[in-house]
Symmetry: C2
């Protein structure tokens, strides 16, 4: 195995998986059920993506996050705020050190299966309210992985210099079926179309140009 990809079932990691496969990377996928409101929507997408591409896939349950952690993103938390990502209210959606935890587990799993890389779909548009998506954090967790595995595993962020629309465009050229990816934080039957995450998805998938196959509530 070359790499372990953290696959949420969202559009960024779905494109990253397609991109790596197109380059010949032998990849195993790891998803996490940590009790977010949208886990029940995105995890079936992750399973479907892996089944269709014949990629080995494990779903790791982390129920303690929903039980012990505080965030509106979690099923145990308050309602997801409306509106744009940069609103102060969106800070309630931070799950403390979530990416730190998911990456650490992926690093241990990668070492166990002999993969030398962990791949994360973070991109340049990931919002500043999420400290564990920033470039400085990415560099630090990679260094911790390198030192903590005796140089066996590195953490890579191949989309670090791309924005979400560039990722959408790349995915279109790779034939990614975006209708079978999930973004909306609310986790309803359909994408709500109005939360900060949906706003961004629409922009990324060129909704206004008729290129977005997503069915939105609004």
């Amino acid at each position: 195995m070359d790499a372990v990809i953290v696959l949420s079932g969202g559009m960024d990691s779905a494109v990253l998986l397609a991109h790596e496969i197109s380059m010949g990377t032998r990849v195993a996928a790891l998803s996490f059920d940590y009790g977010s409101k949208h886990n029940p929507r995105e995890l079936p997408m992750a399973r479907e993506i892996c089944a269709r591409r014949n990629v080995g896939h494990k779903v790791v349950g982390l129920p303690f996050i929903n039980e012990l952690f505080a965030s509106s993103l979690l099923q145990s938390g308050e309602a997801i705020p409306e509106g744009a990502y940069d609103a102060d209210s969106m800070k309630s959606t931070v799950v403390p050190f979530r990416n730190g935890i998911l990456i650490a587990i992926a690093v241990g799993y990668a070492e166990s299966v002999g993969a030398s890389r962990v791949l994360i779909g973070s991109h340049s548009g990931d919002h500043h309210i999420y400290p564990d998506c920033r470039p400085e954090f990415n560099a630090a967790i990679d260094e911790a992985a390198r030192l903590g595995t005796d140089d066996a595993v590195r953490v890579a962020f191949p989309f670090a210099s791309m924005d979400k629309r560039e990722i959408g465009d790349l995915g279109r050229t790779l034939g990614v079926d975006f209708a079978r990816t999930w973004t909306c934080y609310k986790g309803g039957e359909l994408h709500c179309g109005t939360c900060g995450a949906c706003d961004e998805r629409k922009f990324a998938l060129r909704h206004d140009q008729g290129l977005d196959p997503t069915r939105y509530l609004k």
Copy 2:
């Protein structure tokens, strides 16, 4: 809450907890059931220590480690090797990136409960075969925690410059009941007395001077 301590039920973290309490730190304890052979012995010790000292305590289950990771320390792994820690064979006891994973979870929990520090009982005698116990790793994971929490949480290793015997001596002055801590990797009814971990415990607790209250098989 001032700090979250990762409490295994072993002697090092038991002494660290007593030490922090003696200094007036308000501390919450976090233990992990990751499927090691000695988890069934050490977790009841961790529970007992917290109950006796009136410390809030959570046990986080990480069953995926035993299912997906490769290590002789795990219930799913081969037998624990005999003999000294520095033997090449002891490398089989490494659980890939275990401390990285446990620390990352403790960082997220600390931020959730408003604690600014995560305390780890790693010490200078922790063996070089465990890369995620080394000072360089400790510094890197602290940096990742700092950046990934917007400076809300730091990871501290108060015993970093002490060896295990110094920790034992400190624990004795603090009244730690070492008979109610667990070290042996084999997880039998009694400490085996012959594995690398037991060897070190005997030295640390001054077994040859009659100061070690542990009942050993040999």
